[in-house]
């Protein structure tokens, strides 16, 4: 773990913290009011605000988690050098793809 990766992981954690709280608050709100899936989609689809909210979250999570998994894989399986970096990039890109796909599905019209 070098200083760049460390700072990137901490900064993405700072971004994720308020977004996670916001996400939980929205979940509680939606459950309390008994919103149906179609009612939720009615609010999120076409909304640039939710696209930005969850899009930012997905980007932050993908970077944060990839760095975290990189450390675990490095210590547990002794991956080093190119193998380690390639694995971390794969995790990052895979999470970006899956998360991005989910965000687009609920925010695009």
């Amino acid at each position: 773990m070098n200083i760049r990766l460390y700072m990137l992981q901490r900064i993405t954690a700072l971004i994720m913290a308020p977004l996670t709280l916001g996400h939980i608050a929205v979940m509680i709100y939606a459950v309390q009011d008994g919103l149906s899936a179609s009612e939720i989609l009615g609010r999120t689809q076409g909304s640039n605000m939710w696209l930005l909210f969850y899009g930012t979250f997905v980007v932050a999570v993908s970077i944060h988690a990839a760095i975290g998994v990189r450390v675990i894989v490095s210590e547990t399986f002794k991956f080093v050098g190119f193998t380690l970096d390639a694995f971390a990039w794969f995790v990052c890109v895979a999470m970006l793809f899956m998360g991005g796909r989910a965000v687009l599905a609920v925010t695009l019209l």
Partner: protein, 242 residues
């Protein structure tokens, strides 16, 4: 008048860098007895070829650390009664260090990492300059006081799971030493210290599990020193970018 002599079953690791196994001994139990007493009794009465390391016997030199029932301890200050598990003891060489023979480990890596962490004084004055006055209650001096009593026993290094999993990791003792140097107003090259501790094997690898602080025989807190280095490193990162 005679009382039946009670014995302790002691399992001692015997071997060389390539192989080894535990050997069992029966050692007479005494009222006030340390682990080092037990090991010495075996070496003096049962097997003169048993190799182990000690010097001061009073907890100052840091030579006699070993794994006792799986936990790193200073054996000269560890009473048998406090660590006995059903009249049994298991004594092994320190974890995370290569074995030379029996209970003796090669501590080169441990000390080399002190140098790699720049745990060295970088002079800011010559011998012709007057001695700088240090306020004992100044923040930096208080931080230094908290870490300066390290006896280099390597117990924190043996206790650290990050060292186990990442052989490049500098370890708690070296990083704590670097933190004391970083806080020294007489040190002229703090950025060199930060560069040394923020590399691939540096303080940023610490998972804050705290085994170093739990097992330090002198009640020091290397985890706190490492947290300080992380803060200083992060601050330095932004300052350099700015």
């Amino acid at each position: 008048m005679s009382t039946k002599q009670e014995n302790i079953d002691v399992s001692v690791w015997r071997g060389d860098p390539h192989s080894g196994n535990y050997e069992n001994f029966k050692v007479p139990a005494h009222e006030s007895q340390t682990i080092l007493d037990v090991v010495s009794w075996i070496q003096q009465n049962q097997d003169a070829t048993l190799s182990y390391r000690y010097a001061c016997r009073v907890g100052m030199c840091g030579s006699c650390a070993m794994m006792v029932n799986g936990i790193p301890r200073w054996t000269c200050r560890t009473h048998v009664k406090k660590v006995l598990k059903g009249k049994k003891l298991e004594v092994a060489p320190l974890r995370n260090l290569p074995v030379i023979k029996d209970l003796v480990t090669d501590m080169d890596t441990f000390f080399d990492k002190w140098i790699s962490a720049e745990g060295l004084h970088h002079p800011s004055k010559t011998r012709l300059d007057p001695i700088e006055e240090i306020e004992p209650k100044s923040l930096g001096r208080v931080e230094i006081n908290a870490g300066i009593e390290c006896i280099n026993c390597s117990i924190c290094y043996a206790a650290c799971d990050t060292v186990t999993n990442n052989s490049d990791y500098l370890g708690p003792a070296a990083l704590q030493r670097a933190w004391t140097v970083y806080n020294d107003v007489k040190d002229a090259d703090k950025q060199t210290v930060l560069n040394a501790v923020s590399g691939d094997g540096g303080c940023l690898n610490c998972h804050s599990q705290g085994s170093c602080s739990v097992h330090c025989p002198n009640d020091l807190n290397p985890m706190n020193a490492i947290a300080g280095l992380k803060r200083a490193t992060a601050t330095s990162f932004f300052n350099r970018k700015g």
